[in-house]
Symmetry: C2
Subunit: 509 residues, 2 copies
């Protein structure tokens, strides 16, 4: 037989990958538009457009000929370390993606587009039943997906692994078990103290002024408006179409300034990561974020470790008072600091404090695990949700909108995503702890509204590496330790000891 093998050069590999990225990012533009500006009647055709692009990208990416060529290219000794990493990560990705048939990808994409509309309709009607049929279909598809991808121990592992490489049910069970006791103990101590007042942020704040403040805030905290923009959407999100075009969205509650403020800083954290990825690696693994846990570590580091610090409040309170002089009359930075750190079991995950937040995630994690096992009918989700919030947070969920309809994730087909929020929070504490060691006077810089050195440190330690290091590798390089909940527990204990005047010895270790 003649040798008919074609050989793929590295430049050919990059142009192939870049065309694929063009398709993927084009699809991201369609999705961004769908959630920001698209008129209502455009939804149906848009579903088809997104599905077509998804299917094409999948078909090109999983071309069996390319899989072979990638393995040949890996054997090429002239590749440098980064090039080899790009090719080997791509070969892995291709082999994962190739497990999903094209028809399945199209069906999933179309179901997701319809689900997003159904979820929006269900929220409007405040009725889970409107969303249930499509959610049931999505869950069935997700089980199928897990089977296609293959799994050991638990089908949910196949989905977890898509967002956080190597993440498993047993690892998360252990992490949440370790968090539960000290968190519950700390919550109990706090509940026994006098509650802090959040009245300063719960006033009337005109929408337009909040918007202006959010834009100013983004600029001052390092968002590059030449390479990004902010818009409004029902559920805030970050997306990007290159490192030079990063879009975030926010939502505004006219009776709560903290809602928009921390949602904006949260998305800013995501956006700074995307803006910091190397544009020279556009379309290649080293030009992409390494995991959702690390992505979330960036959003939560900026939202909480920076944004909810006394330093940040000291620096930004004058600006807040500039935009809202009447609402801030007689208050100071500490009033604001206490208000935005109030600990209180509540219904909405994205508005939860840093402690109860993990219970919101745990509930979703356990629910998804159960759904993937098939032991819970879709229609029982509201009752499950109700019971779980009662059990973990001691509160009675009043309706679906405040309960199981609050998150967009399922309607996006994202199952296994929620746990990355807790991981992100834990990584954030660990990274920020390392930053405080690496950057002398960091808190002083933050108090002065100077975020450049912290951003630069994150750029050098995390952003510029793209997918070169896994979450665990990054974590070890930065902190000398694997993921360890002690960094987080240490951080929250110190914070709430001050805010709630807890006695040192009284805090469980």
């Amino acid at each position: 037989m003649p040798n008919t093998e074609t050989t793929l050069t590295y430049p050919q590999y990059t142009s192939w990958m870049r065309e694929l990225a063009d398709l993927r990012y084009a699809n991201a533009v369609l999705q961004w538009d769908q959630e920001t500006y698209m008129p209502e009647a455009g939804a149906e055709r848009r579903s088809g457009q997104i599905a077509t692009l998804s299917e094409l990208a999948h078909r090109f990416f999983t071309d069996p000929q390319k899989a072979k060529e990638l393995n040949q290219l890996l054997a090429d000794n002239s590749l440098d370390e980064k090039q080899r990493k790009n090719v080997s990560l791509t070969a892995e990705d291709v082999s994962q993606q190739a497990k999903l048939p094209g028809d399945f990808v199209r069906t999933m994409s179309e179901t997701v587009s319809k689900s997003f509309q159904a979820w929006m309709d269900a929220r409007k009607a405040n009725n889970f039943a409107v969303f249930a049929p499509l959610l049931g279909k999505l869950i069935d598809l997700k089980k199928k997906e897990a089977d296609y991808l293959g799994w050991q121990a638990h089908p949910y592992n196949a989905l977890l692994n898509q967002y956080e490489k190597g993440c498993t049910v047993s690892m998360l069970d252990a992490t949440f078990a370790a968090l539960r006791a000290p968190l519950s103990a700390l919550l109990a101590k706090i509940a026994a103290r006098q509650q802090v007042s959040e009245s300063i942020v719960k006033q009337s704040f005109p929408e337009e002024t909040q918007w202006q403040f959010s834009m100013d805030l983004l600029e001052k905290m390092g968002f590059d408006f030449r390479a990004g923009r902010q818009d409004k959407s029902t559920h805030p999100f970050t997306t990007n179409f290159s490192a030079h075009d990063v879009r975030i969205t926010t939502r505004i509650d006219p009776n709560d300034l903290s809602n928009m403020t921390y949602s904006t800083i949260h998305e800013l954290g995501h956006a700074l990561y995307e803006q910091g990825l190397p544009d020279a690696e556009y379309g290649l693994p080293l030009g992409e974020f390494t995991s959702l846990g690390i992505h979330e570590s960036q959003s939560r580091l900026w939202e909480n470790n920076v944004g909810r610090s006394l330093s940040w409040c000291s620096s930004f309170f004058p600006l807040i008072a500039h935009y809202f002089p009447e609402q801030c009359a007689g208050a100071n930075a500490e009033t604001f600091y206490r208000a935005v750190n109030r600990v209180q079991p509540s219904f909405i995950r994205t508005e939860a404090d840093e402690l109860t937040y993990h219970f919101h995630v745990m509930i979703r994690y356990e629910l998804e695990k159960t759904l993937m096992e098939g032991s819970l009918p879709v229609n029982d989700i509201p009752a499950y949700w109700h019971a779980a919030y009662k059990k973990y947070l001691g509160i009675e969920v009043p309706d679906d909108k405040t309960g199981c309809l609050q998150d967009v994730h399922w309607s996006h087909g994202s199952f296994g995503y929620f746990p990355t929020y807790s991981l992100g929070s834990l990584y954030a504490a660990q990274f920020f702890g390392a930053a405080e060691i690496a950057i002398p006077g960091l808190q002083k810089q933050l108090s002065a509204g100077n975020f450049g050195q912290l951003l630069n440190w994150l750029r050098q330690e995390i952003h510029i590496h793209g997918r070169f290091f896994t979450s665990e590798e990054l974590c070890k390089r930065i902190s000398g330790d694997t993921l360890n909940i002690n960094w987080f527990m240490q951080y929250v204990k110190e914070k709430y000891r001050f805010i709630y005047s807890l006695e040192e010895e009284a805090i469980p270790s």
Copy 2:
């Protein structure tokens, strides 16, 4: 030899076409975003994304196997008349497109994206030299394109034919020659009369109020906001991603209400056509507009024959006075009517009156013809422009921004597009004339702000047919006549006789 021919069924044909449409419309979303919301630094990667999608769509569309299959499908006797029309138009399109190599399509697309940025930069700098190098490249590519497509008599014919099937240099030379004398004579008569005042529209009109008025206006004139939206851009345009998602843009001059008003109504006219195309034919020729001349006939019919009529002004003046009470104090509908129909040679095509407009188009037509002949160096365009405006309109173009940098078309790679503006204006007069015969009391309806019957007539006569009829076929069906400048001349003579108190016998016929 075994028969290895595959046969294409009509349903397979439609799903192939719909996937192609998904790709094309996805690309239109990318372009819409580029001109409305995209941050500056996103431009470079966006060019690549648009180029990739263009190239893919081209590659799929010109698959030689498909061309063969389409011809086989045409021989299928079970197709109904509409199905046969779809397939035969597609076969024609494929054979035209297949003449352009994939590399060429990609190069064109990339050059266009860069040209758009260069044009924007050149406008900012008010300096044609900034745009000249890319424009030169575009012209070379357009000559190549004409050669690929093939042409007889004149290379420009190949480009004209892309926008208006069957349109040729000899046909346009004749049309413009026929228009020139009576138009010039009418202009001379008007110039001899006392000028009308446009002071009512040339005042300070706050941008935000103008925006609100434009949105109100669109709603009242029949724009379906469930299936479309309006945004702002440098150069107003209409695009669509299905008949259920039609986007228009406008621009606002804070010192001129007529600029935004008539730009908005113009784009509304385009949008009503797109919203009226049959969604059931999505992605197929019968779901598309028939020609740019007909598209423009819709925008100009609404802008001029409706929007600049005394009936429209009577109906809308109260609303204008509602939004701008101070500016309208002491004025009435006739003041407004006269102001927006002032005839005056001017620099900007999109702001020109209905008479001088054709000279703006003639100048561009002759310039493009010359450029395609290769007899004018790119750098001489500003001087050519200057001389032409002096010759035809008697005015001295002061700078590039007011001169040869005013139109976006070349930067979009659109050469041969301008003539469709004059054709559109002529078709509009002919169609509107037919509508006045078909709809008793039409002017009364317009005076009452009732546009439903006119819109419905346009829907039935033009919109729902998609590409089933050519421009000429439509024109004959509607007016019983081929394109004939007399309808237009009759319309403008009547209009300006009233506005400029011209004596009947003094108007040249």
